[in-house]
């Protein structure tokens, strides 16, 4: 029987689909009490990994356990783990309520639970409608309702934001955070960091089937580094002068500029002046989290950088100065070889491919936090024996709400800080 820890453990997990290695030697642990983001580009092996964890796909090698045992040994799996894997798992001619009642009887929860979860996800009025007529967002909600039927300790969601409108995303974010704060486990995958940045506390970043980063999102944030881009009249002379000042983190850029890390613009300008090098332009550039994410995951389907067609792409080997602590694969800590040069071309391409999502998440709609959010979170240990359903959070209808007053915002921020302080 399982240990009730709420922990998901993946060890050396590997999956081959014929000649294709979808997941390669992947290891990570997901802890209860926080929302963990499982990130990687499309095709990185996220869905395959989640399906292996849930016993739907047989691993070629390695193990995946939930509460210490493989999924198949959970006994009553739906009471331990609920999963939203796709918004398509419905018979189009079956009504939402009937769909839930089918699985309510399979799990062994009473029928009224079907209406309860419908209310919980905001589909209370659509119970008698056939799932085939649902929008993608409604299907996502119905899938979530199905996952919640057994009141599971662990929630696994694969790209749950797909098809949800901004209100739905805000609601989901709030719901998942409250769920995690009650001491349960939430694992949520996404191909966009920005999409889950405000939801998750922990991140696992994978690329090409391997773990690139596994740790708190804050550690990743702290590793963001500023760099100075300078256009000197004589790059060689400036490089020499900088080295004399013991500044070694210098990278020539394709456009002739130098990128200098770990310094301030003023410092570089002073050194240039002293060395008698003219400076035609100087700017400070801060690598944001999204760029960092791209640099961690690039290369999977990346094209050659501008001006380097045909040239080997990965030549300069440089270490990240402030290394995040929890890299699990020391031999391949970073796939990219130019940490401070965000793959512009690729980034811009991706940006253009996903314009609406960027838009959507950069200015998340304000929503009023439910009462629970205004006081410091209280840890509610999960009690597996307890059959009665406890709502993780009061149901908040996904509707546009006015911006919360400043005081509340402040309090929420405070709460967030305290929570982050725990890590």
């Amino acid at each position: 029987m399982h240990d009730g820890s709420g922990r998901i453990t993946v060890q050396s997990l590997t999956k081959q689909f014929g000649p294709v290695t979808a997941v390669q030697n992947l290891s990570f642990t997901v802890q209860p009490g926080s929302v963990t983001g499982f990130l990687g580009p499309n095709g990185a092996g996220k869905t395959t990994t989640l399906r292996m964890v849930l016993g739907l796909v047989t691993a070629t090698g390695g193990t995946a356990t939930i509460n210490g045992v493989p999924f198949s040994q959970l006994g009553q799996p739906a009471r331990v783990v609920g999963a939203v894997l796709e918004a398509q798992g419905f018979h189009p001619k079956r009504t939402a309520r009937d769909h839930l009642r089918v699985y309510a009887s399979a799990i062994g929860v009473p029928d009224p639970r079907a209406d309860q979860v419908l209310q919980l996800v905001g589909l209370g009025a659509a119970g008698a409608r056939k799932a085939g007529g649902f929008s993608l967002g409604m299907k996502q909600r119905l899938a979530l309702a199905t996952a919640l039927l057994g009141d599971p300790q662990i929630l696994v969601l694969d790209e749950p934001a797909n098809g949800l409108d901004p209100e739905g995303i805000a609601w989901l974010r709030q719901f998942l955070q409250a769920y995690a704060r009650s001491g349960r486990t939430v694992l949520i995958s996404s191909h966009l960091l920005a999409e889950v940045e405000q939801t998750v506390d922990q991140v696992i970043i994978i690329s090409r089937g391997q773990t690139m980063y596994n740790g708190p999102l804050d550690h990743l944030r702290q590793s963001q580094q500023a760099r100075v881009l300078v256009a000197p009249s004589d790059p060689a002379a400036l490089t020499k002068a900088l080295r004399e000042e013991e500044i070694y983190n210098i990278e020539p850029q394709p456009d002739g500029r130098l990128a200098v890390g770990g310094v301030q613009a003023k410092q570089v300008a002073d050194i240039a002046l002293k060395a008698g090098v003219s400076v035609y332009g100087i700017e400070e550039e801060r690598v944001n989290l999204e760029q960092l994410y791209f640099s961690l995951t690039n290369g999977q389907y990346g094209g050659a950088p501008i001006g380097q067609f045909g040239a080997p792409q990965f030549q300069q080997q440089q270490q990240f100065p402030q290394q995040p602590q929890q890299f699990q694969q020391p031999y391949q800590p970073y796939q990219q070889q130019q940490p401070y040069q965000p793959p512009r071309q690729q980034y811009e391409q991706q940006y253009q491919q996903q314009p609406y999502q960027q838009q959507q998440y950069q200015a998340p709609p304000p929503y009023q936090p439910p009462p629970q959010f205004q006081s410091p979170p209280q840890y509610q240990p999960y009690q597996p024996e307890q059959q009665q359903y406890q709502e993780p959070s009061p149901y908040a209808p996904p509707q546009v709400q006015d911006a919360p007053p400043p005081q509340e915002l402040q309090q929420e921020q405070q709460t967030k800080d305290e929570r982050e302080g725990e890590h």
Partner: protein, 292 residues
């Protein structure tokens, strides 16, 4: 297990498929047996009045010829429970509800076992309705002549229920094996309705009795033939040499729609073997199938 069987019943009852297939089954079972019984009765009356047979001392007065109509209509109608079974698991794979079904079941074998039990019960339900309607059609079409006694009806009816039940399970297995709704429906219809009847005509012997469709037809067809033979004027038949008798039996089985069939119990066992093999193969494939 009980909970999973309830869930399977709910899956069936919350969509229209079960009655969408039951309606044509009812119409076909009644219609075919009614028309066939009418024709058999007309033919039998013609034979009875034929002076040749009368001079030979062969009396066909009490022979329950209408069992041919009964068994044949049941054989034809089994195509509907077969399709019902074929869509049992393949629809779940096609609609991707299998993901949730596996996630909410204690194990894959528990889910597949519960599905098998639910579909056996539904197959039996189809069988009862189909046999019942076929009996009614035979009664109505024959005008009260050339009918078997109650035990004859019961025997053929039961063999019909058994055939429907096994066809449902066989369909479930094929659907699970192929994992495709269209694929399994097309394959089963083409095989059972077109391919094997042609093969049966080509072989004309016990080869077709070994094939799945021939064995299934034999289940009802051989039961019907036995009833006929038992009712025939036994002193006359006793004088016939064994090889001629076997040829005669074969002709009767052809009339009952079971070319080259073995005895009903042997046919039943052969068909049970086919069903078990295909069903087990389908379940084994899904025991390890990657649900991606």
């Amino acid at each position: 297990m009980g909970r999973l069987i309830t869930a399977e019943f709910r899956k069936i009852l919350t969509v229209r498929l079960w009655w969408a297939l039951l309606i044509p089954a009812v119409v076909l079972a009644f219609g075919w047996s009614f028309v066939a019984a009418t024709l058999v009765t007309d033919l039998a009356q013609g034979v009875r009045d034929d002076p040749t047979f009368q001079r030979a001392g062969l009396t066909f007065q009490d022979v329950p010829w209408s069992v041919f109509a009964l068994s044949r209509s049941i054989n034809i109608t089994t195509v509907f429970p077969m399709l019902f079974g074929a869509l049992g698991l393949s629809t779940e794979l096609h609609r991707r509800t299998i993901t949730t079904s596996f996630l909410t079941a204690s194990s894959r074998s528990a889910l597949l076992g519960s599905k098998a039990i639910a579909y056996v019960l539904w197959g039996a339900m189809y069988g009862v309705v189909i046999s019942g309607l076929a009996i009614l059609g035979t009664l109505a079409g024959s005008g009260g002549h050339y009918l078997p006694d109650a035990s004859g009806f019961l025997l053929i009816g039961l063999s019909g229920v058994l055939a429907c039940l096994l066809w449902t399970l066989l369909g479930l297995g094929v659907g699970a094996l192929l994992g495709s709704t269209t694929g399994s429906v097309l394959l089963l219809i083409i095989y059972a309705v077109i391919a094997e009847p042609i093969l049966d005509l080509a072989f004309h012997n016990h080869v077709s009795g070994v094939l799945p469709n021939g064995a299934a037809d034999g289940l009802t067809g051989a039961t019907a033939s036995t009833i006929i033979v038992d009712h025939l004027n036994s002193p006359v038949l006793a004088q016939i040499p064994p090889d001629v008798f076997n040829a005669f039996l074969n002709v009767i089985r052809i009339g009952a729609g079971a070319i080259g069939a073995f005895d009903w119990w042997a046919s039943g066992l052969i068909f049970l073997g086919w069903t078990a093999a295909l069903f087990m193969a389908g379940m084994l494939v899904n025991q390890t199938r990657d649900i991606t």
